[in-house]
């Protein structure tokens, strides 16, 4: 039986595969896509996966995402893989890596934290542990229990 392809192959660009099922739209929001890009963006959600059961996939045409930029999504999609496509071929492939500091992505769950007030600062978290992921607010030192719920 011929494998059904839900989203067509792309010539040049980036494919983000193995995104935790249901998180694709959040991934796009974290990456600031499609704002500021005229590329074609395809999203597939709840696709069958041998490894993960279900997964999401995002394809961005004519744009190679920078690893630093993509690492931000590791917070909600720690198993994601990034494929850089050039002329229909995978030119580079890498896994996301959680950065040491997470700036402007997660809101501090502490309503009394200074980062939730009208001050000229961005939210900032320091990674305390990677597996399981534990992050700590740089300002009030609170550790959020549920990171995905606090994505800005």
């Amino acid at each position: 039986m011929k494998k059904e392809l839900k989203i067509p192959r792309i010539k040049d660009g980036t494919v983000i595969d193995h995104i935790t099922a249901g998180q694709a739209l959040k991934v796009l929001r974290i990456l600031g896509i499609p704002e500021g890009t005229k590329s074609i963006v395809s999203v597939a959600m709840y696709v069958k996966s041998k490894k993960m059961g279900k997964k999401d996939i995002v394809k961005v045409e004519n744009r190679e995402l920078d690893p630093e930029e993509v690492n931000k999504i590791a917070l909600i999609a720690p198993k994601a893989t990034i494929n850089i496509i050039r002329d229909y071929k995978v030119a580079k492939k890498f896994r996301v890596h959680i950065p040491d500091e997470i700036v402007g992505i997660v809101r501090c769950p502490n309503p009394n934290c200074i980062s939730n007030s009208e001050e000229p600062i961005e939210s900032r978290f320091v990674v305390v542990r990677r597996d399981p992921l534990v992050i700590k607010c740089y300002y009030c030192e609170r550790k959020p229990d549920n990171i995905a719920d606090n994505i800005i």
């Binding site: 934290c113 001050e119 740089y138 300002y139 009030c140 030192e141």
Partner: protein, 307 residues
């Protein structure tokens, strides 16, 4: 090791060596703090004292410390008298204070304000309490008091009593005492127990704290009893509050079970958790502890200003 220019936002910003450096220097400051010896170490230096929240002991002892060392103080104790009322943000207030002074002391009801201030200011920033968060200079003066009264921190059996869940001083103190290898016992009502995070920090430092609700048993072989206030508003049921307060009152009856040289500490203000009859006993060191705020803050100011 130099503390010159260092921000002191959390007790965790300081290594064990740096803490000892501050405490040892504070010992030398005692005669100056009492006015028995003159020392113009910080002459010409200006402290910006920014208190966005009421404070008696912390603010006065910082200002006394600066004056005793020949420096001067600018600032406010009531933010309604400043441009913040006109809607200025805290970051701009900090930039301004930074331009006018050599060191900034800040207290604010929002957690993390001192950390933010440290980002905006070039001058060293000292946290004088941020919301339910951190209060490192209180922690240093508590350690100093134990050191002065007992001669050491290591191996001391310290009972922390009261509201261990919300009390800002006990969180820093538990961490710092664990850093110095003290034995820890946490006594509180079930609903106000020490947060799991703090207990885990102590364990990581090699100290396994004991948590109990039985004060009488806990103080039997204790060296230090550190008492904190239990606030009425933490209890939805007033009868539950009265029951808890009654069982954790420090009075002569309780102290019959203690060692003769047990010291009783309290960050003050106290309401009725320590009976006034205890004040006259050799156990009571809380007024001395309040005085210790001055030499410890003198030591901190002179260290961060490189004096």
């Amino acid at each position: 090791m130099s503390l010159k220019g260092k921000d002191i936002v959390s007790i965790r910003d300081l290594s064990k060596g740096e803490i000892l450096e501050i405490l040892n220097h504070a010992k030398e400051m005692i005669p100056v703090a009492k006015g028995e010896r003159k020392l113009k170490l910080l002459e010409g230096k200006i402290l910006a004292s920014l208190f966005f929240e009421p404070s008696t002991r912390t603010r006065l002892s910082f200002e006394t410390a600066m004056h005793r060392l020949g420096g001067s103080v600018i600032g406010f104790a009531d933010p309604s008298m400043t441009s913040l009322r006109k809607g200025e943000n805290i970051a701009d207030t900090i930039r301004m204070a930074d331009a006018y002074s050599d060191v900034i002391v800040i207290r604010h009801p929002k957690e993390g304000t001192a950390r933010m201030a440290a980002e905006f200011a070039e001058a060293p920033v000292i946290n004088a309490g941020d919301g339910a968060g951190r209060h490192p200079t209180q922690c240093l003066l508590d350690l100093f008091t134990i050191l002065m009264e007992k001669g050491k921190l290591e191996g001391m059996k310290v009972v922390l009593l009261g509201d261990l869940k919300y009390g800002r001083t006990v969180h820093s103190l538990a961490y710092a005492l664990a850093l110095f290898g003290a034995e820890l016992v946490f006594v509180s009502p079930e609903s106000l127990r020490m947060p799991k995070e703090i207990v885990e920090d102590c364990i990581e430092l090699g100290v396994e704290p004991v948590s109990t609700t039985d004060l009488e048993k806990a103080i039997r072989d204790a060296d230090v009893l550190y008492v904190t206030r239990i606030q009425k508003e933490r209890f939805p049921d007033p009868t539950e509050y009265s029951r808890v307060i009654g069982s954790y009152k420090v009075d002569m009856n309780l102290l019959k079970h203690a060692k003769e040289d047990l010291i009783v500490m309290h960050p003050l203000p106290r309401i009725d958790e320590i009976s006034p009859e205890v004040d006259k006993t050799r156990h009571a060191v809380y007024f001395k502890q309040a005085f210790n705020g001055v030499p410890v803050r003198m030591s901190i100011l002179s260290k961060v200003l490189g004096g």
